[in-house]
Symmetry: C2
Subunit: 222 residues, 2 copies
């Protein structure tokens, strides 16, 4: 038999999926704007952030309301509190897309420094990690969550390679590239921070699922 | 008459104060390590982070447990969920202190680039913002929370000045300074991110207090 609360928990999942889709879109557009030197697209990422902030508050409010009305125990409660955390992470991810869009606006009218080869790769990793981490939450899939954690070291490596290249092959060799190289270096770091947020989501999912397992199987504690 | 739950809410406040003290200590030590080129102190910040992570999980678990056992309504519930958010912010602040300590380890055996004048100033702002935001939570003091929000633009300005100076007066004028200047630029950005987390805390406090006001005064909705 389906409980009333189940319908609302399903809606919470849908809200998180929507927040996830908006965050992914913001990441995608911010890097497309960078690649295509598209000032309008960069601005649209910045402008759209208000709507994401608004949705975050709505989802947060819904979660508190759900807890107050249903007074859920163990599993449902943990699902809702995890949803609140993931909601906040997704809002932060969208904020970072705004940071990328702002750096992009600094770069669009300056000569291209390099073909950005590794930044799109890091972007793909970041997008996949965000997508997988949300899937892991919606499905309660601990294996998928662990896959996200494994991707994070790859993201760190990409960031470090990009950073080293920008410092040693550009800034040190030709000081005039420094202002542009710093912007790209920051963008690489922003992308890696998106991966960190996806990692936080994945860790929250593992914690949600395992705490539940532990609760139901006290022999697994220790 | 004091309710049982009041004692536990008081303990939650104490836990958040403790998390705050640990986060502030981590910020302080990470910048002291930078100022004094103190490798051991930088390492101690990195090593101590495990204990902060552990306390964060404990506090989070306590909050979920509080909700499950007392099924608190409106005001208490909102206090607990805000506590969970602040707890997470403080853990992130400590993580950023680790980032500062790691950048410091890259710098300790290289020649000093500049006397760091503005980085300690930005550090003081960051420390004050963290302290004020936690006080605002513990006291439910919305005016103090708003003061934190006002400080954030000052922090942004300091970060921008430091960044511009490092790029234009160092990297562009003497390319050999780039590797060290990038580390300092990142540290300035880390400190500003700490201010952002304090801002998040202050916003959560305002939201906690105002939502409550609105709930008790439906005429104020609209």
């Amino acid at each position: 038999m389906e409980r009333h609360v189940d319908q609302e928990l399903k809606e919470l999942k849908e809200d998180i999926l929507k927040m996830g889709a908006l965050a992914e879109e913001a990441i995608f557009k911010s890097v497309e704007a960078l690649k295509n030197r598209d000032r309008e697209m960069a601005k649209s990422v910045i402008d759209h952030d208000v709507a994401i902030d608004k949705l975050e508050l709505d989802v947060d409010e819904k979660c508190i309301d759900l807890i107050a009305r249903y007074q859920p125990m163990a599993r449902d409660l943990r699902f809702i509190t995890t949803g609140m955390k993931i909601n906040a992470e997704l809002e932060r991810i969208a904020d970072i897309a705004v940071d990328i869009a702002q750096r992009t606006l600094e770069l669009v009218d300056k000569p291209i420094l390099k073909p950005l080869i590794d930044i799109p790769k890091l972007t793909t990793i970041a997008q996949n990690m965000v997508k997988m981490s949300i899937d892991a939450f919606v499905k309660g899939d601990i294996l998928l969550a662990k896959k996200v954690l494994l991707s994070d070291s790859e993201a760190n490596q990409f960031r470090d390679v990009i950073q080293r290249e920008l410092i040693e092959d550009y800034m040190v060799k030709d000081a005039s590239t420094a202002p542009r190289a710093v912007q790209l270096l920051l963008i690489a770091r922003f992308l890696e921070r998106i991966c960190d947020h996806a990692t936080n989501i994945a860790e929250d999912v593992i914690y949600m699922v395992q705490a539940e397992v532990v609760r139901h199987h006290p022999e697994k504690l220790k």
